[in-house]
Amino acid sequence: MKPAPFTYHAPADLDQTLALLAEHGPEAKVLAGGQSLVPVLNMRLANPAHLIDINHVPGLDTVVANDDAVHVGALVRHAHLLSHSAARTAQPLLRQALQWVAHPVIRNRGTTLGSIVHADPSGEMPAVLALTDGRVRLRSAGGEREVPAAEFFVGPMESAIADDELAVEAIFGRFPAGTRTGFTETARRHGDYALAGVALAVSVQDGPGGGTVGQAQASFVSVTDVPDVLDLTPVVGGAAVADLAGLADAVAEAVATHVDPVGDIHASADYRRHLAVVQTQRLLSTLVGATAEEEIA
């Protein structure tokens, strides 16, 4: 199908964008990569009176990695971030998760921040923002605010952004040196939305017999309403790496209790829960077993 009529705006700079949002906010939609919004418009699931296309606004396409965070502008495409070497060194989870976001063609247009604002619980990048204790910088004609991930995601496809606000930056936190990270998911076809997926960050202290596990945190894709973080430190923290296999049941229980999947034609809720459990157990043992060369962050 085709989108219903709307008034198309192509602001030339940030001030114009914010003025348009101030004027039309409740009746307007921001268009970034369009890889989620345009299908919705084509299917007429949304029918905004105004479309504010930010693709010609300069200054929104920068990636900056500094000591404590990676700043990703509103027009940074998934593909650009995936190939950004400073960003992936600073926060390896970005690359590890972005490889699972859609197909390369979609990643060429879709933006990482758009995917966060869209707040689809099946999206990989909201889970990464949550796990890295990241935040979103929002601007309106009236000013600016930063919202932490824990407050930004309020429900499936619901975020804390106001009608007159533009998300200008996603800010992904970094982990302390020595933290190992990983991402895995299961989809019916690589590139499709995950049936279930997990992002994991775990620290390991050196010591005899492979050392001991320090902190461990996980966030999930497609099995929680919002990407909230499961702290596995009480379950595995302090355990000797060599003893980790003995904690598999406890990890399973923590994950199974935390996730709250819904069933659909692709997979039942039970199957999704099972996948989340197995993915977490495997990723955890892979990461703590990683050699120094594989250690990241």
Binding site: P3, L51, I106
Partner: protein, 216 residues
Amino acid sequence: MSSTPDAQQPEPKSVRGTIVTTVPRASFDPAGGAAQPEELLDVYLRVNGAEQHIRVPGRRLLSDALRHDLGLTGTHVGCEHGVCGACTVLLDGQPARACLMFAATAQGHQITTVEGLSTPDGELGPVQQAFVECHGLQCGFCTPGFLTTITAYLDENPDPTPEEAREAIGGNLCRCTGYQNIVKAVCRAAELRRGEQAPPDGTQTPAAPTERQEQR
């Protein structure tokens, strides 16, 4: 969700926050309302090297602008929600879904459609030639999207393994071929680009367009 008809604008907030993408904004008016002429925009596109000017509504999809406004019907439209890949064109050399872009957004970019993949004197490009040799298509509906996607991919990876070729076409759907011959065509196109002319074992000999019609 409430299904009670409501004369008011639907409320865009849930109890928890802003529903980001899927809320219909205007309530349906059964009386129809007064018909409004749609505002038209001047859009300048650079397609296959040529400058084009069209006057279209802001909601004109790039796929429709190419097909209906510019007559370049090589770009096919299957699903219109980004899944099938039939509409894939190159935007500054990178594959993009034409059904998920507005023509107005494409201003200032170089667009290459399947029509732009042949050489200036009308010879088939290497990927097109490989599809002929390997019988990489049946009905051909999906083919333009495969050709553009593969053309860009081979710029990035000029010598793919069959496994990599399979990965490269993973975002395009074909309802006819079972993909085996398309994977062969990716590898064959890589050879053609390197100047290796002999067709690989197990593929069809090059067939002239007229002979192809006999295959049934």
